[in-house]
């Protein structure tokens, strides 16, 4: 059963007299609980595609459905709610909130986005931190842990809301190869444990080979 469906998806940026067609009519389907990678050179449209799937950006043409919802024309508030309910994000620079502890960073979406009650929320955060092997670092601040540990926290934060889909934009770009492999393994384990769909963009060949499905983009179109 598909989680993401796109048909003739287009994204064109207009800046003054310059028009850039970032995505040029791509079709694709991502099945639930799959482990998908978008690859391609810089400027090929990977991030644009991820942003559209993540409802951070909107197509200028075609059709896009995520988790059974047509997300082509969502308003700002609706898209924020949709992201909060269905999508988790993992960023290249980890993007943890520096004033919150590891525990609070993972707790953030449950508290500030989904308003879970305290006991249930804290139980869920402890479970996730245990899953990503960060339970013993729960009270530390992001500045007190390593890059790999930060990305583990980011994975926990992306999964804590039971998101059906996790989007990871170059999740290993700022990590060494050993840590990168661990993060990819962790994401796979999470997919197996929670049935979450992972879509990530990457340049890293080692990461690409771990993906079950690879979509290669070039100049906003599928290659091959």
């Amino acid at each position: 059963m598909s989680l993401v469906r796109a048909k003739a998806l287009e994204k064109t940026y207009i800046a003054g007299e310059i028009t850039v067609r970032a995505i040029r009519g791509v079709d694709f389907v991502v099945e639930r609980a799959s482990f998908v990678s978008f690859v391609g050179p810089s400027g090929s449209g990977k991030s644009t595609l991820l942003n559209m799937i993540g409802c951070l950006d909107f197509p200028t043409g075609g059709f896009l459905e995520v988790a059974g919802q047509d997300v082509t024309r969502l308003r700002s508030k609706e898209s924020a709610r949709f992201r909060g309910e269905h999508i988790g994000f993992i960023f290249q620079d980890f993007n943890l909130i520096s004033v919150l502890t590891v525990f609070e960073n993972v707790e953030y979406p449950l508290l500030m986005v989904q308003n879970w009650p305290k006991q249930r929320r804290q139980k869920r955060v402890r479970e996730l931190l245990k899953s990503v092997e960060m339970a013993d670092q729960a009270n530390k601040y992001p500045s007190q842990i390593s890059g790999g540990q930060k990305q583990r926290v980011a994975v926990a934060r992306a999964l804590v809301t039971n998101a059906e889909l996790v989007l990871a934009d170059e999740p290993t770009a700022n990590l060494d190869s050993k840590t990168s492999n661990r993060i990819i393994e962790l994401m796979k384990d999470m997919r197996d444990e929670f049935g979450t769909t992972f879509i990530f963009s990457t340049h890293d060949p080692k990461v690409m080979k771990n993906a079950e499905t690879v979509f290669t983009l070039e100049d906003g179109r599928w290659k091959g």
Partner: protein, 414 residues
């Protein structure tokens, strides 16, 4: 709400130095305003209290036109016996009136047998006068205070006493011309020396009402002014309206109003000073608003600019714009609250210190006035309200900007 509060506190602690500096600025502004309000307010209250409680009363009733020519103390514009009775009846029927005092104001020649000078006098019924202006007793700087004065006695203004070397127990003579033009003289014993204060009547001497009637050969009862003490200063405007309404309806045979009523504000030039103090307080408050507005806005603009990437992350995770807005507004609110609370505490300490130190000052010819600053809860609440409201308003624009930020652009920001 608690999570936003906690998050805002953490963010304020993240930039401790900046938070501290902004809070200090707000604190200084609050301290400046509260101290100004306290000192000027106390000065104003003291002066008004002195004017109303030792000289003018809260309200005064005269025969129409008397006040316009008060400098010449015209005896032909006194209220006659029947008119006085009418006013008395109205005053006694008014619940706001606590006491009233009938006065004859007159000018006379004052002689100590070696020198002569002119003197302005208030002739009063001592009992009525003490009930109406109870702090008049405090102005007796030398001589017996109890009972104010008896028939045949005079309280001499300080300036004349000094200039003519008058002592307690001296015999002096007052010579006055009555409204018919006949001159009469009468001896008086100096009972006390009366301190002068600012404002009309502040340097007048005092004699008994009965003595004035003898001196001026008034057979029927005649009164120049009726000074009224109300049960509270807060009742003044309402009582004024009622009395003006009642007394204004009494007309002479030409159909013109017979009486005029005035508040102390109309009678004393100090009211203009009091109004200037209020105006200065208003401008000081505007300066406080400007300080809070600029400092909070500056801090919040910086906070938003420095946390663009974090805002992008929060938005991407699914935080709705309203919550992002609330977070930044809460930070501004807390800055305002911190600054205000510290400012209030410091102000109260300084005010308590000033009261303990018993600072005195001179105002015009009045020396050794004791500065006793107090601050009303109402003023503290008003200043706090202004600061916190402005802090919230100042953080609204940056917070709005943060809430409306495009997540992709924000996430790309380094």
């Amino acid at each position: 709400m608690f999570s936003i509060f906690k998050f805002a506190i953490r963010n304020l602690r993240r930039y401790r130095r900046r938070t501290l500096l902004t809070s200090v600025l707000i604190t200084l502004g609050v301290v400046a305003v509260l101290l100004f309000v306290s000192i000027s307010g106390s000065f104003k209250a003291m002066m008004i209290g002195q004017i109303t409680d030792s000289m003018l009363g809260h309200l005064q009733v005269h025969r129409k036109g008397y006040l316009a020519s008060i400098d010449s103390l015209p005896l032909d514009r006194n209220m006659k016996g029947k008119q006085v009775a009418e006013v008395k009846k109205i005053l006694e029927g008014n619940d706001a009136v606590e006491a009233y005092s009938m006065r004859i104001k007159l000018g006379a020649m004052f002689s100590n047998f070696s020198e002569t000078t002119s003197i302005r006098l208030n002739a009063v019924n001592p009992k009525q006068e003490m009930q109406t202006v109870p702090r008049l007793i405090d102005r007796i700087i030398d001589g017996k205070k109890e009972g104010l004065l008896e028939k045949g006695e005079i309280l001499v203004p300080e300036l004349i006493a000094k200039g003519m070397k008058i002592k307690i127990g001296d015999t002096v003579v007052l010579v006055a011309t009555n409204k018919d033009g006949s001159v009469n003289g009468q001896p008086f014993v100096v009972r006390g020396i009366l301190e002068g204060i600012s404002g009309p009547g502040g340097r007048d001497g005092l004699i008994h009402l009965d003595d004035a009637m003898t001196l001026l050969r008034i057979e029927d009862k005649e009164i120049s002014e009726i000074s009224i003490r109300l049960k509270g200063m807060g009742l003044m405007n309402e009582a004024f309206d009622q009395l003006e309404d009642r007394l204004g309806s009494i007309k002479d045979k030409n159909g013109k109003p017979l009486f005029e009523v005035h508040t102390w504000e109309k009678l004393s030039p100090f009211f203009n000073i009091a109004e200037m103090i209020d105006l200065m307080t208003f401008f000081i408050k505007i300066m406080l608003v400007a300080i809070v507005l600029v400092s909070i806005m500056n801090v919040m603009i910086m906070a938003v600019y420095e946390r663009i990437n974090e805002i992008g992350t929060m938005a991407a995770i699914g935080t709705v714009p309203g919550k992002i807005l609330s977070l930044f507004v809460m930070e501004g609110f807390l800055l305002g609250v911190f600054g205000t609370l510290i400012g209030i505490v410091i102000s109260l300490i300084i005010i308590a210190g000033m009261n303990t130190a018993r600072i005195s000052f001179n105002f015009g010819r009045q020396e050794g006035l004791l500065l006793a600053p107090t601050i009303a809860l109402n003023d503290v609440v008003t200043v706090s309200g202004i600061v916190i409201t402005i802090a919230v308003l100042a953080s609204l624009q940056p917070a709005w900007k943060a809430a409306r930020m495009d997540p992709i652009t924000a996430l790309r920001h380094v």
